[in-house]
């Protein structure tokens, strides 16, 4: 992603510091499963297994939390997902 200065976030994310905000990706009938998995690997830097697990959760449960952390960061992630054509939203984690 040359369009967003997010490269540095990959490392932080794999540590997956839980935060009060979440980025949620929603199922849609159009995006290919392989493509969604690819996006999770490429953008978040998730290992194949984790990316596939998340993709299947989106597919079967209708949505999945793909990242947690500060609100601004979750908004950047949502924007990046929209860049890929995935539908993502931001929400406050249930306390």
């Amino acid at each position: 992603m040359s369009t967003l200065p997010l490269e540095d976030l990959d490392q932080d994310l794999s540590a997956a510091a839980a935060g009060p905000w979440q980025t949620v990706v929603w199922n849609d009938p159009v995006n290919l499963m392989s493509y969604v998995t690819h996006v999770f690997r490429e953008y978040f830097g998730y290992p194949l297994e984790r990316a596939q697990k998340l993709m299947l959760a989106v597919h079967h449960d209708g949505h999945a939390v793909v990242a947690e952390g500060a609100r601004e960061q979750m908004e950047l992630h949502a924007q990046a997902m929209h860049d890929y054509g995935l539908w993502a939203t931001v929400r406050e984690a249930a306390s």
Binding site: P29, Y35, H82, A88, T89
Partner: protein, 166 residues
Amino acid sequence: MTPLELELSAIEAANLTDLVEQFAELVADSTDAGTIDDPAVARLVPDAYLDDPDAAGEFRRLTQRDLLRRRSGDAGVVLATLLRDGEPVTPATLEPGQERDRIVVTLDAEQLRAWLRTLAAVRLVLASRLGVVDEDDHADDDSRFGVYDWLGYRLETLVRAADRDL
């Protein structure tokens, strides 16, 4: 990564050029509009907040135009790399008998990402036009589904190629 070589027939290249040009036009027309009425374009810039219209509106105000500009940029990369002897292949410039000519598109990593995002976005627009709301929605007698399926097949191939470098 090693540059990826994507092989297409001339007719595929011409049809894809036509589709991506239409897509780029649609996106460009919507970019300066504050509100988007076309559901196909709206799908490219979805609400980022489900239950908070104010936050969704603010997010949209800050991001929508840039998002659509990036779609135009990506589409531009596709059109700039989808060439035959350095020239675009369009249905109008394709001469009879050339349909099956082989065209090789060479893509570096960044160009490949632009292709992936564009094919995914064009499929979203087509799906919206076709009224796809369920994965099983498919009218075999509608030729537009042929284009939709073909894009899916091409996207799948490119995803596999891109995965090799992850």
